[in-house]
Every structure is written in C-alpha cells, then in structure tokens.
C-alpha cells in the first residue's frame, strides 16, 4: 500500500456511542497508580447473570480447602502475634448478591469484628467491591474492614463449597433479581428447594434477611420461607429491633435508589429453626 499523501485528513476520532467498548474502563481498572476509592462508573456491568450457566468460576472443592487469607486481613496479624495454632476466624455473615457492596461496607459499624462476605456473580462488580474494601482499609479507621471480604461466586450453586453446615449466623438477600416470568422461577434467589440450602449453611437461630422493592417478589419469598419447615418468620418488633435491618433499608445501593425514587421497600426476616425430630 502506498503511503497516503500528507493532505489526507487525520483519522477520525472514534466517537463512542452507547454500548461500544472504548477500553477506558479496563484501562482505569488496570491502572496501578490509581489512588483512593474506586469510582463505580468504571465497573458497570449489565444487571443480570444466568445462574444456571457455568461461567468461569473459581471455587473450592469443599470449605476446608478455601483459602480465605487473601480476602481478609484481620486475623493474619493476630496469628503472627500468637504462635499457637489459633483457629482461623470464620465467616459468619453472607450477603448473597451483594452488588456494589453497600451493605457489607456499612455493617461493620453495627457488627464490629464479625467476619462477613459479599458474594456477587458479576466479575466487574465484584472487582469494584474488592477495590473499594482494599481502599477503605488504607484509610483512617480502616481496620474494621479487615473482616469484610468479597468473592465472585454463584451462591445458588456453590454455597456448600464455601461454608460448612451451620456456619453462618446471618444471610442477606437484598434486592434480588425478580425474574418475573413464572418459567424462570428457579432462577430466583429464593425457591422452595434453595431455601433448604440456606437452612443448611445457617446455624440454628441464624437469620435470613430479605428486602425488595418488587411486591410480587416479596410475596414469593415470604410464601416460600413461611412454608419451609426450617424457617420461622420474625415478628414486626423483632425485625425493627434488629440492628442490621436499618442498615439494610438505607445503606444498600439499591435501597438508596429506591429511596430516591420514592419507592416502597418490603422487608421480611426468618429465623432458622432447629432440625425437627425424625419421622419414619
């Protein structure tokens, strides 16, 4: 090819129309010199992920083989101080579908020292939360985020890979994808059969928290937890008295959005009952 004459106009600057990849986000995310808290706009990702597909997930074959050390910073220091084999602090709280992480960032204020994990299926959203936690840890008073971690995971499939039986004391299901079509009911975060898995990872008296702005979804979740023999609904007073509920109402990203739009929020919580007597 001949070289163009000097008169040829400079290459037109590609104007990014909506949805087109420009690379600025990945460049931002990869920049090692970036300082401070990450900006959410660089981690946008579409709202849905198919819970049935394989994705390319990383998960341990069983909870005992999970290496939590890269997700939490708090105990590694303690362990160095005390030479004896202290048992590693265990995750006690899971925010399933944590999104941009508003809840787990706020919860340490009311639950200091409780090790908590956000689980999110979307890669870039998870990456944002991870960056955010790491940045917060460096700020003044950031030690409390040493017990806050996030992981990319499909909790609907792999909860038992991460947690042992009765390990968790609190499970949050905040503003889940409603999956409106009846045909898609099994993709919902609450289903009669999946509720048994939440019961498995929850300790007796542990609590599952739900909040949504979609009334139908609220009824769906309520119906299936109400009907599940291992869950009993918290009363209105119990819900109001729970320190986590206020945080869940106001500090989740979706909660704030619903607030701005003047929408309604439906909250319901259940306590994990003890396993019943055997029947033959």
């Amino acid at each position: 090819m001949s070289t163009p004459t000097s008169a040829s106009p400079p290459a037109k600057r590609q104007k990014a129309s909506s949805g087109q990849r420009t690379g600025h986000r990945s460049a931002y995310r990869a920049d090692p010199t970036r300082q401070g808290l990450p900006q959410k706009k660089h981690y946008r990702q579409r709202a849905h992920a198919n819970p049935f597909s394989d994705h390319q997930l990383v998960y341990p074959p069983c909870p005992q083989e999970m290496d939590w050390s890269k997700h939490f910073t708090s105990t590694s220091i303690e362990e160095e101080e005390e030479e004896e084999e202290e048992e590693e602090k265990r995750v006690e709280l899971a925010d399933i579908g944590c999104g941009f992480g508003g809840l787990i960032i706020s919860l340490p204020k009311v639950l200091p020292g409780v090790r908590m994990l956000g689980m999110e299926i979307r890669t870039q959203v998870t990456e944002y939360v991870d960056e955010r936690i790491r940045a917060l840890r460096k700020l003044e008073g950031g030690e409390m985020y040493g017990d806050v971690g996030v992981i990319r995971a499909n909790a609907m499939k792999f909860l038992p890979n991460f947690f042992e039986k009765a390990q968790l004391r609190r499970v949050f299901l905040c503003f889940p994808d409603p999956h409106f079509k009846a045909r898609k009911h099994k993709a919902r975060i609450v289903s009669p059969t999946l509720a048994s898995e939440y019961a498995y990872v929850l300790a007796p008296a542990g609590i599952v928290y739900t909040i949504t702005d979609v009334e139908d979804l609220h009824h769906w979740m309520a119906k299936h937890f109400d009907e599940h023999p291992l869950f009993e609904r918290l009363t209105g007073e119990e819900v109001d008295a729970d320190v986590c509920v206020a945080v869940m109402r106001t500090d989740t990203e979706e909660g704030k959005k619903v607030e701005r739009n003047g929408g309604k929020k439906f909250v319901a919580c259940w306590r994990r009952a003890a396993d019943p007597e055997w029947v033959e």
């Binding site: 597909s53 994705h55 390319q56 979307r122 059969t193 023999p229 029947v279």
Partner: protein, 408 residues
Amino acid sequence: MKDAGEVGEVGEGSGSNGNNNGVSKIISAQAGKYIVTVTNEDKTVRVFEAGGLGELSSRTMPKRPCALALTDCDNTLLVADKFGDVYSLPLLPEATPAATPPTTTPKDSEAKRHRTEIAHDLLFTHKLLLGHVSMLTDLASITTTTPEGQKRKYVITADRDEHIRVSRYPQSWVIEGFCLGHGAFVSKVLVPEWAPLEVLSGGGDTWLGRWRWADGKCLQKVEVGGVLEEIVGKRVVGGRESSGAGGGAAEGEGAEGESKDKEEVVKPAVVGIWQVPQRKIIIVAFERIPALLLFTSSPPPDQSLTHHTTIPLPGNPLDLTVDPSTNSFWISLASASSSGEGECPLLQHITLTPNGQWENTTGGDKPAQAAIGQVSGVRYAGDAKVLNDGLLYTTGLLRKGFGKDREE
C-alpha cells in the same frame, strides 16, 4: 432389585421424521414384580407388571428424568430430573387421581398468580422433595435402622457441579450434608449393600470416591487413571474443564481428546457403578472404553476398594445388570467403531467363577443366546452422530466447556 439393562429399542420410528424416544432408564421394583422405565423424548415414567409387561401407569414429568430410585419398601418412586429436582411418586398410583385437576383460575389474577406459584399441573400424586441449581445425574436411596430399631431414610443426589448431597427422607428439606471433593462432574453414586454407611461415586475424575455419607468424609480416592491408560494406550486426564488445564471454553472443541496439535488425551467419564453383593465386588464402566473394571472390597472395618481385574469387552459398555442368584451379569454394548455399526454383539453374559475369576458365558448359556437373538435385529436407522452423541454417549458431555458459556 436394581437396574436392568439400558437403552431399549432406539428409533422404533412412528412418524416420518424418526422418533428418538429411547428408554433411558429401567429398573425393577418389589423383587421383580414391576418394571419402571423412563423414556427420553416424552419425559414419561411408565410402570409395567413384569409378567405380561402390561402398562399400569404412564406419568409425564415436567422435566426430563435422569435417574430413578425406590424407597418406602419399594412403594415410592423417586425421580430425579435434569432441572435439578427430585419428585416422589407412589409406585402404583391410586385408582382416582388425587391431584387437583387444572385449576380454573380467573383470568384477571392470572399474571400475578404465575409470579408467586409454580404450576406444573401434574395430574397425578407427586411431591417435590428437593432441588439443586444444577443438572442432577444420579440418585440413591438408603434405609438404615438406629440401635433403637427406628428406620432412617435418606436420599443421596449427585449433580453436574461436583456435588453429592445427602438429604433426609421424607423430611427432604433437611440437608444432612455433602460429600465434596470431586474435581469434575459426578455421574454415578452407589451405596454398597455390605457397606450401607458408605457411598461410592464416579464421574469425570481419574478416581472413584468412597465416602462416609453421614458426615461427608472422604474415606478413599480409588485411582483408576493408570488402569485406564493401560487399556486405551493414551494419557487419561480428569478434571473440570473439557479442554486442557486453564484452557477455558474457547479451546474446548468437539469430541474429547481430539485436539490436533496437542497430545491426544482421554477424559474419563463413569457411565455406571454396580455391585455383586455376595462377592463384595464393584464393577465400573467408563464411556467409550471397551472394558469393565472390577474392584474388591477388603474385609471390615477397612472395606477399602482395590482394583482386582479388568474384563475386556468387544464393544463399549452401556449398561449392566447383575443376577445375584448366579453371580453373573449382563452387559449391553455398542460397537466401538465410530460409525456405530458393526459386528459387535449387543449383549454379553459374564459369570464370576468361585475362584474369583470371570468367564464369558455368552456362548454356552441358553437364555443368553435367546436374549442375544432377540436384540440382534435392533438397528438404529438414523444418523450415527445423533446415535453416538445424542443417545449412547452423553456422560462425557457433562464436563464443563462443551456448552461454550460466554463470560459476561
């Protein structure tokens, strides 16, 4: 009382465009009194009385069933499906359908109702017992007795995402635990009669699992990679992905181990685990590997499995059924040639001799000859690829990466 042969008359075409409604599962119930089948295309569970093969019931499930088991002294049928759910059905449905007929719901509330209710409108008595968010592959039912003499029943379910789950029955919403550790799909589970507190598992790994299902402890990983390599003369590699380690979906091309510029490897996929209780022998078959692996169990309390012998076969094993009265078993086979056609006998009869050896008794056995004569005319009229990848060899397809999931 358990499995009988698999894959019945394939392509017994009614209709012009062929019919792939093959029998994908067949078991017998109540000491051979009844036969239960599942057919693939119409998702239907049928119960026959074994004597005259009269059809007693025909029940169409909402999703394609993948495994059958029995509990409650063989009075209840457990059906696992590819959507991840397990239903219980009475083996023999009551005379009058107990289920509610299609509910005549007012149209205006329809849309809302559909969002909060799962309506399958099954016209027969059924109960959704449990579900995985994964494709189920196999299930087993166990009944044990406590020292106080109380019956304890469990259901063990295996899925494509490496899980083996232990649930109570009938309180199936209580998950007792998981047996975790497989690096690839689990395709088969078996509870040996002589070791009812253990479960054996096999799938896409180069080892078989032996677990204490009550607490999920892995008791033994029985390596089979070396034995398989001797048979196939190629490297045998297990694991989660269909392509090489870390390759991801992009490389997972076509059939297993056919990548041109790479060394040919064979990915194992267990198609069946069976037991010969009197001899404490476990028989294992792998997809497209023309042999059976026999394992012996050491005396209690150890009960560990050791590879004992390998039985070469004239074709690829599809399914097997053990005749406990004679310590012999029947195997259904498919030709190992890729065209699917060939000289391979479709049925073999093998007897375990008292000295621990095995003998191919297909030739001398009159019932065997008669049975082979009956099936010898079975031919698949359709495309060989459909036969192989769609009907006969579907276990290896459970490995991740075939579906080419896109990352998003």
